[in-house]
C-alpha cells in the first residue's frame, strides 16, 4: 500500500506534464464516480487509464473524477463503462451486481443511483432465493427429468426409508461421490476408507437371499476399488476406480427395494468417450468424473425405486 501511495505521489507530480505530452487531442471533463476509499481510487484509476488514450484522476473526498482523454480515440462513456464493469457506479452507468459484490467490503459504497425494483420480476426472485432447492433443472438433464416436480426432494425420504444392512455402504458411496463432484481428493480418500470399513461390517446373513447372492459376487470389486481410491488423494486417479466401483454398486442398489429413490446417471464422455456411470440421490446432474469442469454433463439413464 505504501509503495502505491509513493507511486501515486510521483505520478501526481509528473502527471501534469506527462499526460499532456502523451494524450493528443485532449479533452477534459469532470464526472462523478461513486466509491469510498483509497482502494477504490486505485481500482478506478487503473481500469480507467489507457496509455495514450485516457487518464482518470479520482478524488475520494468529492467523488469527482477528472478524465482527460483523446477525443479522436475514445469518449467519456467508454471510460465510465470500463469503470462501471469494475464495480463503480457513475451517473451514466450502473455496475453489474456481480462486479459490485466482488468489491472489498470497505469499497462497497452506497449505490444511490440504483433504483428499487418496482415490479415482481420472477427472474429477480430466482436469483435471491438461489440457495433454495427449487432450482431450475440444469441443462443436461432437462429433457430427461422433465416430469419431475421441483418440490419432489428425494433426500427427504432418506430418514424414513432404509435399505437395511447395506444402507451404510450406500451412504458412504454417496459421500465419496460428493467428494469427487467437488474434485476433493483428500475427502474422497477419507470417504473411501469409511466405505471400506462399512463394507467390512455388513452382516451377510441378514441380507435377503437375492441381495446376499449379489453381495457375494460384487463385494470383492467393491472393496478393491474402494481401497484403491482411499490410497490416492488425486481425484483424477480416484475417478478411474470410482467408475469400477459404481457398476457393482448399481447392481446392489437395484436389488434393495426399500431404499430412497436413486438416479443412475451417465457421463458419456469419460474414458475417451467410453462413458462411465454413477449413482446419485438427486435427479439433477452433478458429474463426479469431471467436477466443475463439466458439472452438468451427463444424463439420468435409470430411476431406481
Amino acid at each position: 500500500m505504501k509503495s502505491i501511495k509513493i507511486l501515486m505521489a510521483i505520478m501526481a507530480l509528473l502527471s501534469s506534464t506527462a499526460i499532456n505530452a502523451q494524450i493528443k487531442n485532449t479533452k477534459t471533463e469532470s464526472v462523478k464516480i461513486y466509491g469510498n476509499c483509497q482502494m477504490c481510487e486505485v481500482t478506478i484509476e487503473r481500469v480507467g487509464n489507457v496509455k495514450n488514450e485516457a487518464e482518470v484522476d479520482w478524488n475520494k473526498e468529492t467523488k469527482m473524477a477528472t478524465i482527460t482523454y483523446d477525443a479522436n480515440l475514445t469518449n467519456p462513456d467508454e471510460i465510465l463503462k470500463r469503470i462501471a464493469l469494475a464495480g463503480y457506479d457513475s451517473d451514466q452507468f450502473l455496475a453489474p451486481d456481480k462486479a459490485y459484490a466482488m468489491l472489498s467490503e470497505c469499497c462497497q459504497y452506497e449505490r444511490i443511483n440504483k433504483k428499487e425494483t418496482i415490479m415482481p420480476n420472477s427472474s429477480m426472485k430466482m436469483e435471491k432465493h438461489s440457495e433454495q432447492p427449487v432450482k431450475m433443472e440444469s441443462h443436461a438433464n432437462h429433457g430427461v427429468e422433465m416430469g419431475m416436480k421441483n418440490g419432489e426432494k428425494p433426500s427427504e425420504n432418506i430418514q424414513m426409508q432404509n435399505a437395511g444392512e447395506l444402507q451404510p455402504v450406500f451412504d458412504r458411496y454417496f459421500d465419496l461421490k460428493d467428494a469427487l463432484v467437488q474434485s476433493d481428493g483428500k475427502s474422497a480418500s477419507t470417504a473411501a476408507k469409511a466405505l471400506v470399513t462399512a463394507i467390512g461390517k455388513v452382516k451377510m446373513g441378514e441380507l435377503e437371499p437375492k441381495t446376499h447372492e449379489a453381495w457375494m459376487v460384487k463385494m470383492k470389486a467393491l472393496s478393491e476399488n474402494a481401497e484403491k481410491i482411499s490410497e490416492s488423494t488425486d481425484a483424477d486417479d480416484q475417478r478411474v476406480y470410482f467408475s469400477g466401483l459404481s457398476q457393482p454398486m448399481y447392481e446392489l442398489m437395484k436389488l434393495s427395494t426399500a431404499g430412497p429413490t436413486v438416479y443412475y446417471q451417465k457421463c458419456p464422455m469419460y474414458n475417451n468417450g467410453k462413458g462411465a456411470n454413477w449413482l446419485s440421490k438427486e435427479s439433477s446432474i452433478k458429474n463426479p468424473y469431471y467436477g466443475s469442469m463439466m458439472m452438468t454433463c451427463g444424463s439420468t439413464v435409470e430411476k431406481i425405486n
Binding site: F93, L94, K115, M269, N272, C297
Partner: protein, 752 residues
Amino acid sequence: MKVNKNISKASQLIVVLILLNTNLYAQKVVRYDLYVKDTLVNFSGKEKRAIAVNGQIPMPTLTFTEGDTAEIYVHNQLKESTSLHWHGLFLPNKEDGVPFLTQMPIEPGTTHKYTFPIIQHGTHWYHSHSGLQEQIGMYGSMILKKREDDPGLRAGIDDIPTVPIILSEWTDYKPENVHRMLHNASDWFAIKKGTTQSYAEAIREGHFKTKVANEWKRMLAMDVSDIYYDRFLINGKNESQLSQFKAGDRVRLQISNGGASSYFWLTYAAGKMTVVANDGNDVDPVEVDRLIIGVSETYDVIVTIPAENTSYEFLATAEDRTKSASIYIGSGIKQLVSPLPKLKYFEGMKMMNDMMKMNGDMNDMGMNMSLQQMDMNTVMYPEISGEKKPMKMDEMPEMDMKNMDHSSNGSSNTDIVTLNYAMLKSPTKTTLPASAPVREMRFELTGNMNRYVWSMDNKVLSESDKILIKKGEIVRITLFNNSMMRHPMHLHGHDFRVINGQGEYAPLKNVMDIMPMETNVIEFEANVEGDWFFHCHILYHMMAGMNRVFSYEKQEPNPLLPDKNWAYKKLQKESNQLHLMAQNDFATNGNDGMAMLQNTRWSFGSEWRLGYNDEHGYESETHVGRYLGRMQWLMPFVGFDWRYRKLGHGEVEQNIFGQKSTKDNRAQFSVGVAYTLPMLFILQTEVYQDGNVRVQLRREDIPVSKRLRANFMVNTDKEYMVGLNYIAGKNIGFRTHYDSDMGFGVGLMLNY
C-alpha cells in the same frame, strides 16, 4: 399440411378480396422497393466498401401480415450481380433467391421482382445469397405478423411491443480476402484475437504437454470461431438505446443472427429472459439466464424493465468473446451486465485432444450428445468451470473471507440456466402425416481445419449430385458432426421437426446448430416442389462447399432457370474456387519464396530459391498434387525441378543413397508423395526421371510464441534449412534463416 391449408386459406382470402374489395384480414399486396448500391462505411475508424440497401445497413426491416402478398422489387445498382433469399420462408421455389439454383443472378442495372404469398408468421430475415455480399451489409429483418384473428395469439406474448433486432459483425478486410486467408491457414486472425496458443503461451500456462499432444494429433490451434472482426453490431450499431420504454414494460425482441460466421451469447442486465419463439415458430415460454444464437437462427425473447429511470443492457457477445455489442432497453442510467470472461483455450485444446482420435475422427457419442445439451466448450467457460488462476493478490489487496466466498461462488457457477434445443417445445402438435412414406438419410459433417475444407460425407457440393426426394414423403435426416467446429445447418423452404424428446410437440426450426460430436435427428414433409438448398450457414463454410441440394422428382420446369444442368455446374463451381497464396523472403542471401493455387482437392504450387550469384545458384520446384482422404494428409504429386548452380570444375554432388547428380543446370521431372506426419511434419518422397530419389522432412510455422514461427527442412540430398520468422503484419514479416546452399540470410518477408 399446414402449408397446404394456408395456401387454400390465402386463395380464399384473395377471392374475398376480389369480390368484396374489403380489407377484412389485412390481406393485401405489400410492395417494397429495394435499391442495392455500393457505399462506404466507417464502423472501425476506417472507410471501407460495403453494400447498402435503400442507403442503410442493415437492410430495411420488411413487415408483412400473414395473408398478405409480398411484392419486392430489387433494383441492382451494383457493379456485380446480386440476389435476395428470404430466410425461413415458405414460398414457391423460383422466389427462393439462390442464384444458379432457383433463378439467374440479378445482373447490374436490372430489376428483379420477387412475389409470393405470406403463409406463415414469425421472426425471419433476408440476405444476399450471392458470394460473400452478406458479410458487407446485405442482411435485414423480415417480420411476419400474426393476423388479428389468429387463434394462436398468445396474451402477454403477441400483444406487447416488439423490436426487430438483427445481429451482425464487421471486418475491415474484404470478405474475399478473409476467405482466401482461411484457406491458406493464415493465423493472422488468431494473432489479432490473441489466440495463437503458441508453445511459449502453453508453457506459461502449464500446458506444454497439451500443446504437444495437440500437434501430435495434427491439429492447429483450436478456436470456436475463425475470423477476427473489428466490430459487432446490433441493428448496425455497436451501442444503441431503446429509450421509448419505461419501468414495468415488457418488450419482445425479435432477434435474427445475420452474422456471416459468428454465434452470439445473449445476456440481459435485468436477469432472466423468456424465450417465446425460435426460427419464426412459437415455443412454450422458457426462462433462461442466457442463450446462444447460431448463425442465421432467430429467437423471440421477452425482457422486462424492472426499475424507474434505468435502462438495461442487452448484450450480444461473440462466441469467441473477443468483443460484443450492446443495446440499452429503457431510458435513464445504464445498468450493465457482466461481460463474459475470456475463454480458457488450453482447456479447450485438452478437451479436443481427448475427443479426437489419431485418424482425425471425432469420438462418435451417438445420441448421447445432441441438442446443445452438452456443451463441450464449457471447459473453456470461466463463469462455469471456474477461473483459470486464483485472483492476483495485487488486484485484491485486502482479501478477506467474504471476498474469498464471493470469488468461489461467482466464478464457478453451475446454476446458470443456458437454453438448449431440448428445452424448446411447440405449443401445438407438429406431427407429420403418419401414412406418408419415410425416407431416411444420414449425413456426416466433415471438415479439415488445416485446409479449411468443409463438407458432408467428405464431399463438397462440386462432388455431389442433387439429392432426389419425392413430394409427399417424409425426409428424416440424421446428422453427425465429425468435425471440430459447430455448424448451423439450414434448409431452404421448409421447417423441420427437431426430434428432441418433446414427442408430438417437437419444435419446428429451419436452422439446426450441431456441435462437434453431436448427433441430431430432424424430419420434414416434402411439400413444396423445387430445388432447395441445404447448407451450413457459416458463410465461409458454405463457400467452401458444405452444401447439398434437395431436388423434387418430376418437378415443373423453373421459368427463371431454363438450363438447370448448366446452372448447377455454375453453382458447384462457385463453392470450389481456386485460392492463391504467395510469399517471398527478400533476404541478404537470396530470394526464397513460393506461390500456390489450391482448391478443395488440387494444389498447383511452385517454390523457388534464387541466389544473387551463380555459386549460390537458382532453383525451383513445381508440384501439381491432389489431396487424398478426409483429413487430406496424403498428397501424391507430379513435379518439375529446375536448378542451376555453378559448382567447382567437374564437381558432383552425392546424396545419402550414393546417387550422384550435378546441380549445374539440372532439369528433372518427378513423381512423389507428401504425407503429413504427427507433429505436422511433412514427409515428402520423390523419384526423379534420372532415378534419383529424394526424401525430405519439413515443418513450417511452428508457433514458438505469439508472433514467432520456426521452420526447418532436411533432405537426403544433404540439404537443410532452419529459419525463424516474426509476423509483423498481415502481409509482412522478418525472417532469418540458414540454408545449406545459400548460407545465412536475413530478410523481409512479404506474403499474400
